[in-house]
Amino acid sequence: MSSDRRPWTFFVLATLFTLFVIFLYGPMISILILSFQGPNGSLSFPLRDPSLMWFGEVFNPSRVGDVPGAFSRSFPLSIIVMLLTVLISVTAGFGFRRHFRGSTLIFYTAIASLIVPGLVLSIGVLVTARFLGVSANWYTTGLGAHLSWTLPFGLLIMFAVLGRLNPSYEEAAYDLGASKWQTVKEVVVPIVFPGMIAVALFGFTLSYDEFPRSWLTIGTKNTLPLEIWTMTTNVTSPSLYALGAITTGISFLVIGAALGSIYLIQRKRAGL
């Protein structure tokens, strides 16, 4: 009997896992296929006379919603959320390393905020902003609402990353005459940099496709997820799918860039 023959359980588990992956990506693949629908095609299968016409339609504000305008708000918002999430999570992560009095309570409070329903939070932000006399805009209330969602995630990741950082590195730097600032700049940040990229990635993607917390907080002009939601109620052409394909593509690009840079850093460290 050959030793490299796989047991029957392998095939069962492989099938199960394949089904799981199809389950995860199936809906997205359907959208992607239908975005190439022809001029006479409907919103559902089958695909007739494949074309790229609906992709062109996306950028035509008269026919569908104002996609370029929504993107011009969503993209900067996500970038700002990303930068602030990295900055705040990393500095907070360093602060929590010192185990100050009450740090555990603050940590759990920060994490527990994740259970607040997004729509309710959206109302809360709007009401509070009205009370304070702040007008609702993507760069004011919208930004705040998004940060309330991304910061706990960023904090959790930084905890995991800094928790694995061996304190000997900092001690070794101190032993070799580095100041506190030099230790952060020359040793700690370079070592935890892949973790910082992960935080940035989360910050960006969570903000980019956030719906509930954007609902009432972004003011009169929509971000991309709200624009798409509006379109589902009044646009009845496959351009909806084309838009879905484009935004998903952008998300994948961002994720790819982030993972790619982490990979390159690890590769360099392994000296390859």
Binding site: Y169, E171, A172, Y174, L176, A178, E186, V187
Partner: protein, 401 residues
């Protein structure tokens, strides 16, 4: 609780009296700990320790985990601030000063090489922090790498090196600071047996070449014995004994040291008869132990503990020896372990912990014994070493209490 022992009282041949010390060269790497204590909450990790480690010596601190040896090392290094007491390096009280000002450098247990820097930049790190120009610091770092025979690997990343190579990089990175004192935290524990012995030799060679003080924390007895000019045995935050490796091994002061160093059997008896050149002790189970009279100060009726080295004990089958001899105990062989040049024989003796004899292989195979045999263990009166402290149990025993 063990009493604090000041090595200047207990080990006169290792360090001069601290009070008599007045002046040092500015570059002296003498380490002096004065009433040094460190508490973590209610736990006293280090308790009123006094110790002087002479300049240029190789000192090994040994003890079970949690005995305070690493805490002392870290207090000398400046990575831990003592609760009370003082640390002097040369003539300077260094508590509160950063490591670089102390003239110490530390080699960490896990080496703590910076994973994002090449080994050249790891070694040059200290110079970079001092704003030495790039070309200059790289040249110096390469010279240091050459010294540890790793110059050919200078552009590698730490993850690409073997354990032994990583250790050499850590050594080079510490030595480039030109320290008076090198602190080593269990430096050999991550290496396999073969490399450990090789690196052990290299450390010793480097220390005598540099002439600076090495303070090396270990939990391995043979390592301490092989390397150290001065061995410090610790337990429960206090120093049990500080002295030369030979003293620690051959003339342990306490039952703890005798057992912990792993080479001695400890017996306790009360002084029964004190006449002339020999003193007779009676053990709890009635055996008579003869001890040279000049080694015992206790009077009749007082308890005395003695230790006998494993390799100075003879083992014979019970039927071949004559009964009722002094310095002879009967027991049953528990286990034998062939070690090549000797055989380790464990003997169960009533009223005593397992008695261990290391018998030369010739002697053993001339009269082999197997587990279950009744044997008589005996030793010469000169082999009996009197301990300064009466045994209070199995302290320091590898078999536990």
């Amino acid at each position: 609780m063990n009493a604090t022992i000041d090595d200047t009282n207990t080990a006169p041949n290792t360090a001069p009296n601290t009070a008599a010390k007045t002046a040092h060269a500015s570059g002296s790497g003498e380490i002096r700990l004065v009433n040094l204590s460190m508490s973590f909450g209610a736990t006293k990790a280090v308790n009123e320790v006094n110790l002087t480690i002479p300049h240029g010596s190789y000192c090994c601190m040994i003890g079970p985990s949690g005995c305070g040896k690493t805490t002392i090392l870290r207090m000398v290094a400046g990575h831990e601030t003592p609760t009370s007491g003082e640390v002097f390096i040369g003539d300077t009280m260094v508590v509160g000063q950063p490591p670089v000002n102390r003239g110490t450098a530390m080699m960490f247990q896990s080496y703590a090489l910076f994973p994002h820097l090449s080994i050249l930049d790891n070694v040059a790190f200290y110079l970079k922090m001092r704003s030495v120009a790039k070309d200059d610091r790289r040249r110096q770092a390469r010279a240091m790498l050459e010294r540890v025979q790793l110059d050919h690997l200078h552009d590698r990343m730490p993850a690409q090196l073997s354990g032994g190579q990583q250790q050499r990089v850590a050594l080079a990175r510490a030595l480039i600071t030109n320290p008076k004192v090198l602190l080593l935290d269990e430096p050999l524990s991550a290496l396999d047996e073969f490399l450990r012995l090789q690196m052990r030799g290299e450390l010793k060679g480097l220390q005598s070449e540099l002439g600076i003080t090495f303070l090396h924390v270990t939990h391995t007895q043979p390592e301490a014995i092989a390397l150290a000019d001065m061995v410090v045995v610790m337990d429960n935050g206090t120093i049990e004994q500080a002295g030369t490796a030979r003293d620690i091994f051959d003339k342990p002061r306490t039952p703890y040291v005798a057992r912990f160093m792993g080479a001695q059997n400890v017996l306790t008896g009360t002084v029964d008869n004190k006449s002339g050149t020999t003193v007779v002790l009676k053990t709890a189970s009635g055996e008579a132990l003869e001890v040279p009279g000049d080694r015992v100060n206790a009077s009749v009726g007082e308890a005395v503990s003695v230790s006998i080295r494993r390799d100075l004990i003879a083992v014979h089958r019970a039927e071949t020896g004559s009964t009722g001899d002094v310095n002879t105990i009967e027991g049953v062989v528990e286990a034998t372990e062939y070690q090549g040049n000797f055989v380790k024989i464990g003997v169960i003796v009533k009223g005593v912990e397992t008695f261990v004899a290391n018998v030369s292989d010739q002697a053993y195979f001339a009269e082999p014994v197997i587990p279950g045999d009744k044997v008589r263990v005996s030793w010469n009166i000169d082999a009996v070493h009197v301990l300064a402290k009466v045994d209070a149990g199995n302290e320091g025993s590898p078999y536990g209490v």
